[in-house]
């Protein structure tokens, strides 16, 4: 069993994976409870466009993805506030628009190579040491931001109007949340890939919600489930030669279904 750890790429994979596993539900819970889960998918498609731009301009695709996601997140939030576009259609526009842009750019760069596959579906095996540092540093930033603004994030999520009346800067908190979501989504690309990021942000949270606990406990359990899914998923994918990203999400899904059954009784 332990020969797994003799491979440095596996160690890097675990390091990056666990960091993502911790921050994904941390942000995910606020998105899910605000019925804003779709934003994760939207930002992941934008990240893909960022990756494509990065590959084309020969800059680190991860950094390009982060920049694209963060800039778009602010634009999306401003659009949402302005209420000029009807609800979710704003997200739809970004979702398909950025995907179209990504496809065009990638075809422009001559073809859909193995690189694209790893960005779409994650590629733990090719996580570079520099990626681990970036993910680690930004991961710490995300966790620090959630801790620093925890009470404001919770209050705005539970009751935005009352939060506003009590003097909390709700506009800032909303932008903060979406920027943190952008960071989390783009950081997760090497691990689970663009197509599966929202799964990691949403499924462990929805599972923990079945347990009907306090807010704090729900976050804790969502993180526990997420970390377990990532570790188990990576180990299983190594020995069964499966896609790590897909395996991780299937493990998370399995836990969700199990929880549903247990809670039914």
């Amino acid at each position: 069993m332990l020969d797994l750890f003799s491979y440095s790429f596996m160690i890097r994979g675990f390091e990056a994976g666990i960091i993502i596993a911790v921050i994904a539900p941390l942000i995910g819970i606020f998105l899910v409870l605000r019925r804003y889960s779709l934003i994760a998918d939207t930002l992941s498609h934008v990240s893909l466009a960022g990756v494509a731009i990065g590959l084309l301009l020969k800059i680190n695709p991860l950094i390009a993805a982060i920049i694209a996601a963060v800039v778009s997140s602010v634009a999306i939030e401003k659009l949402r506030i302005s209420k000029r576009i009807f609800g979710e259609s704003a997200l739809s526009i970004f979702l398909s628009g950025s995907l179209a842009l990504a496809i065009v750019l990638i075809s422009f760069a001559h073809g859909f190579g193995a690189d694209l596959f790893s960005y779409l579906f994650g590629s733990i095996n090719t996580v570079k040491q520099s990626d681990v540092y970036i993910i680690g540093a930004l991961g710490i930033l995300v966790v620090a931001a959630v801790i620093a603004f925890y009470k404001e994030l919770v209050f705005v999520t539970v009751d935005e109007e009352a939060a506003y009346v009590s003097g909390i800067p709700t506009k800032f908190i909303n932008i903060l949340l979406i920027v943190l979501a952008a960071f989390t989504v783009s950081l997760a690309i090497p691990i689970v890939g663009v197509l599966l990021i929202s799964a990691l942000m949403v499924i462990p949270v929805v599972t923990a919600l079945q347990l009907k606990m306090s807010f704090k406990k729900t976050i804790f359990f969502a993180d526990l489930i997420s970390v377990f899914s990532v570790i188990t998923g990576i180990i299983l994918s190594f020995y069964l030669n499966l896609s790590p990203g897909g395996t991780i999400v299937l493990v998370a899904l399995g836990i969700f279904i199990l929880t549903l059954f247990i809670k039914r009784r």
């Binding site: 009470k151 939060a163 009907k212």
Partner: protein, 249 residues
């Protein structure tokens, strides 16, 4: 029992007007609320009761006129912890993972400010607020497990946790039974008399609030009456309203 200076004005509206796009909802409303008042705002559905409340809280901005809180223009007002707010039966969804103590603790978040973590004192004040509404025993319960009346009391506790001078309540007794309603008004009475809290209550229950409040405001786009509730009930105006079928229950 505390001595309350009823002459001290804390909320002032001066010819406030508000429209949603093209529809004028509030027109030329002026009023003064004094410390210790127990104000009931009544009126027909769509008459602007809740809108008026939201204008007083800064949730909506008037198109014309001014709102002053504790002597300052609302635009410059910063002392939001003086204000407690119990919104209309809020959309706490099924499965929303919040326990009672967590919800009430939120009442102190604005007071603590950014980058300040809750302290032991905050926790004590949260529990005190729960005690004041007789819900201390439920502090670890999920919000959704409570009855409508119990949830209502928890929201009031959240407003109390702020240690406010005035509490605004927006249609708090929609859909509760008579017993719960009675308990609710008894609680408000206690808050107004024993804790010297100024209350502003928006409700459709004209008959009940007219016997509890010290001032009654009847709003139907304009503030058609603002003053003594008994005078309102006795007065010709009230009978005219009944005749017109202008009262909704």
């Amino acid at each position: 029992m505390q001595h309350v200076d009823h002459a001290h004005t804390i909320i002032e509206l001066d010819r406030v007007c508000f429209s949603y796009t093209n529809e004028e909802v509030i027109k030329d409303v002026s009023l003064e609320i004094h410390k210790g008042d127990y104000v009931g705002i009544v009126g027909p559905n769509g008459g602007g009761k809740s809108t008026l409340l939201k204008l007083m809280l800064g949730i909506l901005k008037p198109n014309d006129g001014t709102v002053r809180l504790f002597g300052s223009d609302i635009k410059d007002f910063k002392d939001w912890s003086k204000i407690g707010y119990v919104p209309q039966k809020t959309y706490i969804e099924i499965n929303f993972p919040v326990i009672v103590e967590e919800l009430v603790a939120m009442g102190r978040y604005g007071k603590q400010g950014l980058f300040h973590f809750p302290t032991k004192e905050d926790k004590e004040k949260t529990l005190t607020a729960l005690k004041q509404v007789d819900m201390l025993g439920y502090k670890d319960r999920q919000i959704n497990d409570l009855s409508g009346g119990q949830q209502q009391r928890v929201f009031i506790a959240r407003a109390l946790a702020t240690e406010p001078e005035i509490i605004f309540l927006d249609e708090p007794t929609v859909g509760v039974d008579i017993k719960t309603q009675k308990q609710f008004y008894a609680l408000l009475r206690k808050l107004n008399k024993e804790l010297a809290l100024t209350l502003v209550l928006v409700t459709h229950e004209l008959d009940v609030v007219a016997h509890e409040a010290t001032e009654l405001g009847y709003i139907n786009r304009t503030m058609e009456y603002y003053g003594n509730p008994e005078e309102f009930l006795k007065g010709a105006y009230f009978h005219e309203l009944i005749g017109r079928g202008g009262l909704h229950h």
